[in-house]
């Protein structure tokens, strides 16, 4: 109802327009619109931030959510093997460090044959499985990084 009345009122107004005035009006409108848009988008952010900062429980809840999200990301996005490798590399930087005289000797001293064998197994695992077969073509590709054809002499 209100919009119909406004429409009728506008129709009754007798206004003369020109291009110059139109452009000035349009620019003003666009500026005002842009200003309002910026203010509106900033307002909710400020209010969320304020809500979090003001309440202690909300702060804790947000921290918990972040921690859970990080844990979720690592458990679901890194394969198990990779996690194991990460843990192993934290203990020793390379497989070579696992098989030094000191590592093996003190492993046996600490945990007997079981620990000693685990160290040996870890060292082998860290170097990973080798491909079952490798053709000359694949070997060339791996060495040169491209698909090379046999050169005819």
């Amino acid at each position: 109802m209100k919009s119909e009345k406004t429409e009728k009122l506008i129709k009754k107004i007798d206004i003369e327009t020109n291009a110059k005035v139109n452009k000035v009006v349009l620019d003003d409108v666009l500026k005002a619109f842009e200003k309002t848009r910026k203010e509106k988008s900033a307002e909710p952010q400020m209010s969320i931030k304020n809500t979090i900062l003001k309440s202690r429980i909300t702060k804790l809840a947000v921290a918990a959510v972040i921690i859970v999200a990080i844990c979720f990301f690592f458990t679901h996005h890194i394969p198990n093997g990779q996690i194991e490798t990460l843990q192993v590399t934290q203990i020793a930087k390379s497989p070579a460090e696992l098989t030094t005289f000191a590592s093996l000797t003190f492993a046996y001293r600490e945990g007997g044959m079981e620990m000693f064998e685990k160290m040996c197994d870890k060292a082998l695992k860290m170097t990973g499985p080798r491909p079952a077969e490798m053709s000359m073509q694949e070997l060339f590709e791996e060495v040169n990084g491209e698909n090379l054809e046999r050169t005819e002499l």
Partner: protein, 393 residues
Amino acid sequence: MKVNNKTKLVLFILIGFIILTLRCPAFALPPDPDNAALLYYQAFCVYEKPDDTMEDMVRRLAGGGMEPNPTITRYIESCRPAIELAASAEELSKCNWGLKYSEGFDMQARHLAEARMLTYIILADARIALAQADYDLAIRRCLTARKLGVDVGQDPMTVGFLVEKAIEKMTNKCIQDILSSSTMELETLQQLKTQLNELDSRIKPVEFFLKTEQELMSMYITPERIREVLPQIWSGDGSDFARELILNADEQFCRRNLAHFNDYWSYVFSALKLPYQQVFNKKEELEKNYVGDFKENPDATMTVILGPAVYKMYGLGIRSDTFSNALKTALEIYEITAKTGQLPDFLPAGSRKDLYSGEDFEYEKTADGFILRCRAKDLIKNKTYEYEFKIEK
């Protein structure tokens, strides 16, 4: 004149032959390695590294915990070049792993990890041969693995001793199973016994390894190097106190600790000359006098930190050697059975001893074979061992 020409011709041929013989080495291929370790290192490089599932299967098959299947047989077949290289190494008496002892703690011993895996592969192949009733090949593979074990133990490194004994135990078990499921010719049995005796004559006693350990560890009981020991200190009770002592160590501390360390070793070496039971009687005294509380006696600090697990190592050696003795005694029984067609009533005279008691094994005939039983307990495991052998009829 005619004779002269003939002589000239003969001389010409002779000189030509000599020149040809002298030049021959220039065309010959370089000789094969005379060091078994070089062939083992090649074997470590050429076998396909198994994934976790395959590795588990290889281990179980090698230990007799499962029957061969087509998947594992295919995998072992792909490892054939590695197995053949190890078999070639069997023919060489010299084995030098080329370890850098001067590196001390940082010395690389990766060959030990690789040797264990190669042993599993070789013994898995032996088990496949056994399942296919190819007993000769199965025995050959066991001897290849056994030789690898002996070669690992040629370097005077205590960790090498551990791997040697682990390999010895695995191969003994495999030979035990082969003997129990086949009827072997007398000649094969005698040959196996000779080869086992030959290999075992090259096995070094535990003292050989412990002496190197003493020397190697002594390098670190000096004011210049003592702090290099810090990363090796355990994280248990008293570790902080030990760290503090080492951080403040001066020349006097090192001298007194080295003297205590050497006294400890003298005691160990004299104790190890005794029979098994008496060695263990000395254990308490050793712990009380030499590796006691270093808070009360700071001179014992480095002995507590660097002294090896002597009794565990000694126990491992006795366990393995007793199993080998039981196997050789069993071979003699199999020989008598092959000759006479029946099991003997008593053990043959001069048979190998049970090292726990120092006496002959207890021999018991069963419905399908015989048992050799130790007469005294393993004092570490608190267990009396018995070895069962079957006679295939």
